[in-house]
Symmetry: C2
């Protein structure tokens, strides 16, 4: 039996979940894998908070070097979250030859190159299955069983909070602000929800997944990012009438000479596999030249699912003689700032002759053709709702049309990309 | 660069697909993994058939020992299909210390213990991702990233041919025999379709998946097996009216003291993730105590998706110092011959007083309660269609009710389990 000594950086929800899983199921994991997991130290801010709970007192420490500098510790598991001090601690652990297991998409995305280079230098392993998609083994899949593929595109629902909000908005016809408040009350959204609802969390995750899938570094600052705060129940309802479901998607495409990396709300046809991934579920749809289409779906958050991924990583870090190390192009492909999509454009138009002709004329000038159009009778404000869905068109051309429309005559209320 | 020398047993559809993938994408795989894949020999029945195609003449051989006994060959890939001589050849390769990669569910299921024991003895690897679910990395997931889980149940659509037939029957209201013939014409069903339509293929796959997930050997002869030949369009239509979709499911459950392993047609609620897995797609839904619910979906067959899984396995066989080796209980859990399910019972009943009372009485006697009931007016034969959906009930009790009904008065046309 191979004994592997662990140090945990953090013992909050995730760290506590890992502690519990190892305590309750570690014996079975040993039987299955021949690896005995021993937690030697856990870094906490205040020992008093944890005293008297299941974690023995001698395991608790407030001194990071009790973990980072202890030669007996083989694997460091990082659960601090945030960029710093998490990134520096992981770097130090790797420098000391310790493998690192983390769920921290932010620190990983921002310091991916440094961390990988240090791991390569010292031969330590760097594992981060839990950083994207929680328990879903998407990172393992891309790096190992699906390695013999040119992955052409991926579309993911990788943020449970926004998916929960959009699912409830659709089911109840409720507005964003109301559902958000309720999600906060239920603990499904943070008191400060910005990281989730503005798409930052999804952008970090896409930066990691895209880098791995396309073997070309996708920096988070190059990911186009648009959150769900502008979405309203009217868009969701009109979309549904036309056969679409609204999701916050993380989209990555390898176009050969450039990469698309964008996070934004998007309509999907109701029969798309991702369209029925509801509530706090996560899912990633992939297309590879050899495996063709594939979708992996599961719990993207929660203590137990996250712990499942982390303990899976720990076992691999302990067993693998050669740690998986993604190879990146030396000259990364540029991340495109323009791309093709279909567009749902909702407008409030003055109920007067010539308005439709103006819109149609602007679209024609940009060579954008229309796939579907709906007009709703004018309300008491004398304005009709006009919805156009385009065929595939360049993002920038559509933005030019939107800009060119005179808001006095035809006001664009929302533009939502249509994917899938 | 580590050079790995391969011998291919068979060069038909799958073998040819692997040859193509290595030829076209092997260079990229080497860059990503540091493993250079070299095919030294490919066993064929008749060299003439392959002459002049892409495979060089010196690679072709009709002598198995050119592969099995060549000390230069590191990994043997088996694409012969069927039980023998595939199983003996794999055993010999493992005995000679060569890792084996196979897509052969039949040989694997029937000789799982021998093959694993030989691999353990010589330290060779045994890889079989392509044997279940084609390109879907389900075996890798269970064995590696999801290892820290008590997997409580799995439900899989693991046979593309039957899923294609059922999907078309549902979409077109067509009968089984007609769709089967069309599937045969299109090459989507074999000229002799028994292995698929009678559920043998799914049973082999469930035997493998169940053994891995439950860490207890599930022999194929203990898998309950019922094919799709008795399904008709009327059942599918009535089921749909009641909110169900019909699928051929491979179901495994770990009940603690026994295992359920059964392959049969089953109704799923239309909103179940598996319900919309249509056509030749495969998918496996899993529930683990830690990861909770998860579904992996993708191409279960086809040359390219199968090759994706096989080359993924080859790379792992080449890279891993310690090959994954599932640990099985010494005393396997018994496979249950009774289980709980809900049941859809379709009957043709004489349009006379007392018939419903008789059915209800027999159900009550077995303590089976009814969840839904529909009666359709009698047709020209004077018989009414009566459909009952039960609450959860033991299989054997339901079978006793079916047996006890007097077919003169109430003839049971079909019994379909309702799962999910």
């Amino acid at each position: 039996m191979k004994e592997v000594v662990l140090g945990l950086l953090g013992l909050g929800n995730i760290g506590g979940g890992v502690w519990d899983l190892i305590r309750e199921f570690g014996g079975e994991v040993s039987k299955r894998t021949g690896v005995k997991l021993v937690v030697k130290k856990a870094l906490v801010l205040d020992k008093k908070i944890h005293r008297g709970k299941e974690v023995p007192d001698e395991v608790l420490t407030t001194e990071k070097n009790d973990i980072l500098e202890d030669p007996e510790i083989d694997i460091v598991c990082e659960f601090l979250g945030g960029e710093q001090p998490a990134a520096s601690m992981m770097l130090r652990a790797l420098e000391n030859g310790k493998s690192v297991v983390t769920a921290n998409k932010m620190a990983l995305s921002l310091h991916f190159d440094e961390l990988r280079e240090m791991a390569k230098k010292t031969g330590a392993g760097l594992y981060y299955e839990a950083s994207v998609g929680g328990a879903i083994p998407i990172i393992n899949a891309i790096q190992t069983p699906l390695i013999a593929n040119h992955i052409e595109q991926m579309m993911g629902i990788v943020n449970g909070t926004t998916n929960y909000i959009l699912t409830r908005m659709a089911a109840e016809g409720a507005e964003y602000e109301i559902v958000l408040k309720d999600a906060q009350r239920l603990g499904l959204a943070e008191p400060n929800p910005t990281a989730d609802v503005e798409g930052y969390d999804a952008a970090y995750k896409l930066s990691i997944l895209g880098s791995l899938a396309f073997h070309s570094r996708v920096l988070v600052e190059n990911v186009y990012r648009e959150g769900i705060t502008k979405v309203n129940s009217e868009d969701i309802a009109f979309g549904r009438e036309m056969g679409y479901v609204l999701k916050l998607l993380a989209i990555g495409k390898d176009n050969g000479d450039s990469i698309e990396a964008r996070v934004h709300p998007a309509f999907l046809p109701a029969d798309h596999p991702l369209a029925r991934v509801d509530g706090s579920l996560n899912a990633v749809y992939l297309y590879g030249h050899s495996f063709k289409d594939m979708m992996l779906e599961g719990r993207g958050a929660g203590d137990a699912p996250t712990a499942s991924a982390i303990v899976g990583d720990i076992v691999q870090a302990a067993q693998n003689a050669v740690h998986p190390m993604p190879v990146m192009r030396k000259d990364p492909l540029p991340v495109a700032d323009d791309w093709y999509s279909k567009y749902f454009i909702r407008m409030k138009a003055k109920d007067a002759p010539g308005v439709l002709a103006e819109v149609a004329g602007l679209l024609a000038k940009e060579e954008i053709s229309v796939s579907a159009m709906t007009q709703k009778d004018a309300g008491p404000d004398g304005k009709a709702t006009l919805i156009i869905i385009t065929h595939m068109a360049p993002e920038k051309a559509v933005q030019r049309v939107v800009k060119a429309l005179n808001p006095e005559i035809c006001k664009v209320e929302n533009v939502i990309r249509v994917e899938g």
